[in-house]
Amino acid sequence: MTTDRRGHRARRPHAATGARLLTVAVSVSAAAVMASAMARAAAPGTGPAPVAPAVAVQPSPADAPATATRVPPPPVTRSPAPPVATSSAS
């Protein structure tokens, strides 16, 4: 053990520096993981299977406006031709 002239245990600058380096390394790693995930999310279909957040359906149907764009209904006209097909109730 290292002691100073008064017998106190000396501070270990190496340990403090190491801790700071470890913190920086963890931060850099987290940032890299996040950047990688964001890059995969921005370019779906590339790279390995991503771990992307699932999309939750809105919790209540009453909360959601029915604003989806849908194919407009076709005009229905009288026709003398025999039916091509029949819609039977189900």
């Binding site: 999309v55 809105q58 919790p59 076709p74 039916p83 097909a85 189900s90």
Partner: protein, 320 residues
């Protein structure tokens, strides 16, 4: 045929059972391609049935139902099924709710309908389905998770998704799209009450479609021609079976978990796509004629038990 004259497209059609109902396919195509296209179409129908039937234990829908909160990988078609179901649920404020599956099972509809009906033929005393009294409100799709990347679907434990009508409607949409992409000039696919037509019709006046009147063996509620689109008819008078508690039918009220007690005997909807037509037809069965004003993107006809017909302006001209 004179030299240089283009041969007229050939119209071929076929019928067979599929998805627990009668299926009908019409293809307009060049001569020489029609047989191939019919095979392509039926293969697509069979593939979707294998993925979506809740009566097949190894279907993707069965796997999701058994997932109990676990993300279950599915095909792109099946993800589309759940997406459309969520759109339908939201777009009808929950009147269309495919999570009535547990109620259907509790009331005895736990197998192909022909098998369910055969359990209690006329003249016999049907047994009470286990759990009929316990059937409660449908849980809804609020807790469903859709992962578009894998893709995968997660449903909470106890939620039983019944593809029922929306599966047939969406299947008709997808099969017609496949046929057109494979080279058909026009195609129509009808699965049970759900029908989709697109492309060049067999005759110049459009795709002429009749709608059966479920109240009688003959007659049509309406007949009209469309340039393309989806048609669906929903009725509690079809898909019925006997139970000790009385006759049951497949249109479950999600608020109670029991076969809906509605004055509507038939709801027919014409829309741009068959899946949406089916969703709105189911919702109109519960809401009755009062719901007709709620959907600006369909034409609809609602027939009540007193024989009254209530139609949106787009269908008034073609009612029989």
């Amino acid at each position: 045929m004179a030299a240089g004259e283009v041969p007229a497209p050939l119209v071929v059609e076929a019928r067979r059972p599929a998805m627990g109902s009668d299926a009908h396919m019409v293809v307009v195509a060049d001569r020489g391609r029609s047989d191939h296209l019919m095979r392509v179409g039926w293969r697509r129908v069979d593939d979707l049935e294998r993925r979506w039937s809740r009566f097949l234990p190894d279907s993707e829908v069965s796997a999701v139902n058994q997932g109990a909160g676990r993300a279950v990988p599915v095909s792109a078609d099946t993800l589309t099924l759940y997406r459309r179901a969520a759109e339908g649920w939201r777009g009808t404020a929950g009147l269309f709710d495919p999570t009535v599956g547990a109620s259907l099972v509790a009331h005895g509809y736990d197998a192909d309908l022909s098998e369910v009906v055969a359990r209690a033929p006329e003249g016999t005393a049907p047994t009470r389905p286990p759990g009929a009294e316990a059937a409660g409100p449908a849980p809804g799709l609020g807790c469903m998770l859709l992962d578009p990347w894998l893709p995968a679907v997660t449903l909470p434990a106890g939620t039983v998704f019944d593809p029922g009508g929306i599966g047939k409607g969406l299947a008709a949409d997808l099969v017609v799209a496949t046929l057109l992409a494979a080279g058909a000039a026009g195609a129509l696919v009808a699965l049970g009450g759900d029908l989709r037509a697109a492309g060049t019709p067999p005759t110049g006046g459009g795709w002429t479609v009749a709608v059966d009147d479920p109240r009688g063996p003959a007659g049509a509620l309406m007949r009209g021609a469309v340039p393309g689109g989806g048609v669906a008819t929903s009725s509690p008078l079809r898909r019925r079976w006997r139970t000790a508690g009385g006759e049951a039918h497949h249109l479950i009220d999600p608020a109670t978990g029991r076969p809906a007690a509605s004055a509507v005997v038939a709801a027919t909807v014409v829309a741009g796509e068959a899946w949406w037509a089916e969703v709105v037809a189911t919702a109109l069965h519960l809401s009755g004629p009062a719901g007709l004003d709620g959907y600006s993107d369909v034409h609809a006809l609602v027939v009540t038990a007193d024989g009254e017909r209530h139609a949106t302006p787009g269908l008034a001209a073609v009612l029989s």
